[in-house]
């Protein structure tokens, strides 16, 4: 049987407001437990929520960015359930009238075509606190610093058909919220997390199968793995004659599998009703237009501009435009060295490699865009070769300093003096009788490929400093002279 997966994602993006959605407490990450929880966050009796309008502006920005309907009147509802890290015994959310209605994003698929994924809604809600089980044997600690942090929950239509598409969609949303500056996108700190709804059906069938929801996945790789694993699990269950139970599952990254958390039968009845402590949020056209005027360039527009203005390939433009900080970094480098393609190669190559290896965000890169730009200038003006530049870059990464300082200090300036290069070339040829003989014996059109050995020897002898272009032409000239 051919199976088709039907996938929908619920993404929780933590909005980067300074204070919480209903209180004045700070939202900064990493403080000592319960030092950023005020009386409202602790749900002390008599305290009341006051809505943080910055969260509203952020949500409206997102709605405009996905071309969605903006709720002119949106209402906070209470989602009632008991849990120790939910201080009020309810989560303030928006069920009936969300701030953002139906919208869409376009994802680029592997074959380069785009696919439209619908966004059902996006609503504002407050985050819960954290239960800490490991630190207190036999007990549970509660940290309410996160309680009341504003979240935008972005719910997709079940338009996604594969794990790859799901990741592309999640990356697209990530790129949007970070570009808009409404979410820091830090997945490790939980600022951007994803619930995956997955079901399968025989290919061609219209009706949906029973779905499961895998909650709180906090990396793109895990999204992909969790979905692949869940699809396989569901196929196995059905092909073994079983049936899928509607349930909430957890992804265990260590075991790379999902496991059941609770079934629908055990699920809470959340008893939603409009929160009587908060007034409906009513916004008008004027407000929406004022927010629209503050929207930054969005990834799709930026990608088009990178292709148009910088002559980048579609792929390079997509990678570099997805993250606002990466895009800004790239453009700073490109402006400094006046070579967009070279800049793109370096940002996507050497820089990204070290960032990934060190698990460092672009905003925390030890090499600034100006530093990298300065380095690329020295490649362009033949002061150093690309290979030497990589050495300089590594020094820059670990010890700091400008390209010129490092080149001077390490004596890495490229040798372009033809006389000096000729001397080295002569030495190499004199000590390579065997290779020279092979060169002479080769068909003239195959000789080009045999230059590599001599190039390597010359570069080695020059400590990598010889200008590769000059070396090539001198080598060719001298070796060809031996063939006549």
């Amino acid at each position: 049987m051919q199976w088709e997966a039907v996938i929908g994602l619920e993404i929780h993006a933590q909005l980067s407001t300074k204070s919480k959605i209903f209180s004045g407490a700070s939202t900064a990450f990493g403080a000592e437990p319960n030092t950023q929880a005020c009386a409202v966050d602790l749900a002390l009796p008599g305290t009341l929520p006051v809505f943080n309008e910055e969260a509203l502006r952020n949500a409206v920005k997102f709605g405009l960015a996905i071309d969605a309907e903006i709720g002119r009147t949106s209402v906070f509802d209470r989602k009632n359930y008991f849990y120790p890290d939910l201080p009020k015994g309810y989560q303030t959310s928006q069920l009936f009238h969300p701030i953002v209605g139906i919208g869409h994003v376009d994802i680029t698929q592997d074959d380069g075509t785009t696919k439209r994924v619908g966004v059902t809604r996006a609503h504002l809600e407050e985050d819960a606190g954290k239960s800490l089980h490991d630190e207190f044997p036999g007990m549970t600690g509660i940290d309410l610093n996160r309680a009341g942090t504003p979240l935008l929950e972005i719910v997709s239509e079940p338009d996604i058909r594969s794990a790859k598409e799901a990741v592309a969609y999640a990356r697209n949303i990530h790129s949007l919220v970070t570009s808009l500056g409404i979410c820091d996108g830090n997945m490790a700190e939980g600022s951007f997390r994803c619930d995956c709804n997955v079901s399968i059906r025989p290919k061609g069938q219209e009706e949906f199968g029973t779905r499961t929801e895998t909650k709180n996945i906090n990396s793109f790789r895990f999204i992909e793995r969790a979905i692949i694993g869940e699809i396989e699990r569901q196929i196995d269950v059905i092909e073994d004659g079983g049936r899928i139970v509607q349930e909430t599952r957890l992804y265990d990254a260590n075991k790379n599998e999902t496991r059941s958390m609770r079934s629908k039968e055990e699920a809470n009845d959340y008893r939603y009703f409009p929160c009587p402590d908060l007034l409906p949020i009513v916004i008008d056209e004027e407000y929406i237009e004022a927010v629209r005027a503050t929207l930054p360039e969005l990834p799709d527009a930026r990608k088009a501009r990178f292709i148009e203005q910088h002559g980048l390939s579609s792929y390079d433009a997509m990678v570099l435009s997805a993250d606002r900080n990466l895009a800004e970094y790239f453009e700073t480098v490109a402006t400094a060295c006046t070579d967009a393609k070279l800049s793109a190669n370096w940002v996507m190559g050497e820089l990204s490699k070290l960032l990934n290896q060190n698990d460092t965000a672009i905003t925390d890169s030890p090499v600034s865009a100006d530093q990298l730009g300065g380095l690329l200038v020295r490649i362009k003006d033949d002061t150093i070769s690309g290979k030497i530049a990589k050495q300089v870059f590594e020094v820059m990464w670990s010890d700091g300093g400008s390209a010129d300082e490092i080149i001077d200090a390490k004596g890495l300036k490229q040798v372009t003096d033809t006389g000096a290069i000729e001397g080295i070339v002569d030495d190499v040829i004199a000590n390579a009788d065997k290779q020279v003989a092979q060169y002479q014996a080769a068909e003239p059109d195959k000789r080009g490929k045999m230059l590599g050995f001599f190039m390597g020897q010359v570069m080695k002898a020059s400590g990598g400093k010889a200008n590769p272009g000059a070396v090539t032409s001198i080598l060719k000239q001298k070796l060809d002279a031996l063939c006549d």
Binding site: A39, L42, A43, L44, P45, G46, T47, L48, P49, V50, F51, R78, N80, F82, P84, P87, K88, G89, Y90, T140, I142, D269, R271, Y272, F273, P276, D277, L278, L279
Partner: protein, 483 residues
Amino acid sequence: MFDKTLAELASGLENGDFSSVELTQAYLDRIHAEDSKYNSYITVTDEIALSQAKAADEARAAGTAGPFTGLPIAQKDIFCTDGVRTSCASKMLDNFIAPYNATVVDKFNTAGAVMLGKTNMDEFAMGSSNESSFYGPSRNPWNTDCVPGGSSGGSAAAVAARLAPAATGTDTGGSIRQPAALCGITGLKPTYGRVSRFGMIAFASSLDQGGPMARTAEDAALMLNVMAGFDPRDSTSMQQAVPDFTADLALPLKGLTIGLPKEYFPDDLSPAIALQVQNAVKEYEALGATVKEVSLPNTALAIPAYYIIAPAEASSNLSRFDGVRYGYRCDEPVNLEDLYKRSRGEGFGPEVQRRIMVGTYALSEGFYDAYYKKAQQIRRLIKQDFVNVLNEVDVIMGPTTPHPAFKLGEKSSDPIAMYMEDIFTIALNLAGLPGMSVPCGQTDGLPVGLQIIGNYFAEQKLLNVAHQFQLATDWHKQTPDGI
């Protein structure tokens, strides 16, 4: 001294007849001597009161005294007080001390008032008799076998027994007006949103409203001058200008039109109450008012709608009392569910548990449309009834309660009979309108209350109408025997 109204005490302080410390000490002494009969206070705050009184006297000496400086009042134990236990008359909060003041408490502090203590009430303001208090019922000073009403029964009893010149109350379905009626004092429930709810422990957020309970309309106006105003900490408080509520008290009532809803005079209304209310209306006619019969056709729906909406909100508002962060926690919980079940089962009294269960049921999946949504529709109909009538008349009048004070225990085993006591007061909370109860007669030695209902933010008009009645009558001056 205990017979003086707030207004009279204010001029006594101003004239130097007595100091705030003398006044406060006298009240504290009287509370300690007499309150065992009424149980109107849960906590008496002697030290705070005397230090506030001293500060008030110093302010007066320094020439910085305001109209409320040095006047003693009592706070219903639902208003959070920084450093002083706020119990809401519940075992659940018997150990709870808030690290903040309710906005209402802050405002009285800023005005230089003296807090004598925290008054008794029905647990979490759920009740019409004060019998659900964890600290035992408060008693009616007119007859201590009778209830003072509720939920602000302690405040009403304290004012009636001259254990405080005035007190704060809160009114979710009649909790200011009904005890005011049963204890023969003047109570005002302001327009929803007039007084901040911040720091006032929530029962039903869309209905709760704090207000004054005092001897006279003039005193209620002085109290409201302190209490009213927009509060950025309460999103449902209104950005409405706060007038001087005493400014219009003296206006004559000539030309006033009074609407008498026929639904407020049903066949089973106590004849004695009907008679006293009719006499009061005649008094108003003598003062130049004209009377018109009107209709509030959805009155009968108010109680069922209220007993969906209020418990629904309460079931959610009271979820925070879970034994996790503060308040009562059961001994030795074996797991989380046990912690919740026993902390809440042991910490809440039966009436609170009943309402939490009713509210939880009403909001349950599959019942929401049939109950909560329907109740909200009825709420709009009720509101529209009032809007229609208040387009034709200046104020609406009727009895505050269908009966005078009843005996302790008389209705406590019959929740429906207890709920029916609020039949005339509850609709106002659903509509969000302001209403007053003023003493207008007696039956068998127990006071009868006249309810006066006005348009949104028409508290000035209500106070004027009540004050003119009190100039013409002396029901508000009656004192229970032995006081």
